[in-house]
């Protein structure tokens, strides 16, 4: 390859000097060189980089030459004109490489060349779009996907059709009416693509939430069906344990003794319960009784403050109801 490099260097030195006539020769020599290089390429892959370098170095000079003289024969300029006709001109390096490759292949030269150039054009388009910030394309696709997603009512309609024959009181089938009505609604609701140029992406989930805000029974049924179908049996013991933990059969490790209890009250609220005794008379057997109750409750670690207060309130109600009886005594 070093020999080729020298040749090309020598030829480059000669090209800027010569007139336009020499272009053909140059082109052919270039082509031949490229062919040789590509022929060598088939043997080893590591030559790719060297080839690219060669192309870059050659085609810089060639671009200069082309600007000078447009008249030149051969399949090379034809390819160029084709590209320019299409609008976006391809990188001449790639064009050259494509032409060389096409000529090296045994099949129809022009066909292969045109195909290669078309592919290159496509690549160029995609790269340009990505440079511009081509995530818009993806977003469009995603937004399209959301639009295509059917409204929950349609799912319900589908399932209802599948599962049972829904008969109205008139004896007519509800399903076709439902589906037609909902298809109209869905089209009117979701009109057009979102370009996401001015709005933030966060508006999309809001939109999605609005459609789901009214879950009918059919939605729940469908969700249950989907969950039942997608829930694969556990492949191993770990997945089984995960499933059990989710269901609540298995406790979470390390074991937390206070899993169900969320007692945010301080200890003084548990022990000093006398403030709840304000509704009772200050003297007498009832007071005596209630003080015993409070003593017992304060020593009880299993009840929450709420439950203790409920006990005391119940006693209060009870004694108020029995006031007449007590006054007789």
């Amino acid at each position: 390859l070093s020999k080729d490099k020298d040749k090309s260097a020598a030829s480059k030195d000669s090209t800027p000097e010569g007139p336009a006539k020499r272009q053909e020769d140059r082109a052919e020599t270039r082509k031949q060189q490229l062919l040789d290089i590509i022929g060598n390429m088939k043997v080893e892959v590591s030559y790719r980089k060297k080839l690219q370098q060669l192309k870059a170095s050659e085609n810089k000079k060639q671009a200069m030459d082309k600007l000078e003289g447009p008249d030149s024969e051969g399949s090379v300029p034809q390819g160029i004109t084709e590209d320019t006709q299409r609008g976006k001109p391809l990188n001449p390096e790639l064009v050259k490489a494509a032409s060389a490759v096409a000529s090296s292949l045994p099949r129809n030269k022009k066909q292969t060349e045109s195909e290669l150039l078309a592919q290159l054009r496509r690549h160029e388009e995609t790269t340009d779009k990505q440079k511009k910030g081509g995530t818009i394309n993806i977003r469009n696709v995603i937004s399209e996907m959301t639009v295509k997603r059917q409204s929950p009512a349609q799912w319900g309609a589908r399932i209802s059709g599948r599962i049972s024959l829904q008969l109205d009181e008139d004896g007519q089938r509800i399903r076709p009416e439902r589906s037609s009505a909902q298809s109209m609604d869905s089209r009117s609701l979701k009109v057009g693509k979102r370009l996401n140029i001015f709005t933030k992406a966060s508006t999309e989930p809001e939109h999605a939430l609005k459609t789901v805000s009214s879950p009918t029974i059919w939605d729940l049924e469908f969700a249950k069906e989907v969950a039942a179908v997608t829930a694969q049996p556990p492949r191993n013991g770990f997945e089984e344990m995960i499933q059990w933990t989710k269901e609540g059969i298995l406790w979470e490790y390390p074991i937390d003794n206070e899993v169900g209890m969320e007692d945010d009250a301080e200890f003084h609220e548990h022990i000093f319960l006398e403030k709840h005794l304000e509704g009772f008379p200050k003297e007498g057997p009832i007071r005596h009784f209630m003080e015993l109750v409070i003593c017992g409750l304060s020593k009880n670690p299993y009840l929450s403050v709420k439950q203790k207060v409920e006990h005391i309130e119940w006693f209060q109600k009870y004694f108020e109801e029995k006031k007449e009886l007590l006054q007789e005594i």
């Binding site: 049996p233 005596h288 009870y318 029995k322 009886l325």
Partner: protein, 109 residues
């Protein structure tokens, strides 16, 4: 998909009744506790305690915990039930011999 027997009903009607009793006992547990606290008292006047007696008798019969019977969970056998496993002795032996009871081994000494 389950390899074991799938039991979707209670074993028999007695088991069902036992279940109902347990539920009711759970609901009325607090009330019974409070009324009994009034009854088993030496401080409050006796008239009050008699009224409390009548009240507790007026509660539904199935709400008292005494009526609950610890039956076997699988066969609903009322007797020979070990509390720790809630199983009757026959079922327990069956599972233990098939090595399906964790940590249970035949005694030999």
């Amino acid at each position: 998909p389950c390899p074991r027997q799938v039991r979707s009903y209670y074993v028999d009607w007695r088991m069902l009744r036992d279940v109902k009793r347990r539920k009711m006992a759970y609901e009325y547990a607090d009330e019974r506790l409070r009324i009994n606290a009034i009854r088993k008292n030496s401080i409050l006047p006796k008239e009050l305690q008699e009224v409390a007696d009548e009240e507790i008798a007026a509660l539904p019969r199935d709400s008292c915990p005494v009526r609950i019977r610890n039956r076997c969970v699988l066969t609903s056998r009322p007797r020979g039930v070990k509390r720790r496993w809630r199983l009757s002795r026959i079922v327990f032996r069956h599972f233990a011999d098939h090595a399906q009871m964790s940590g249970v081994q035949r005694a030999m000494w």
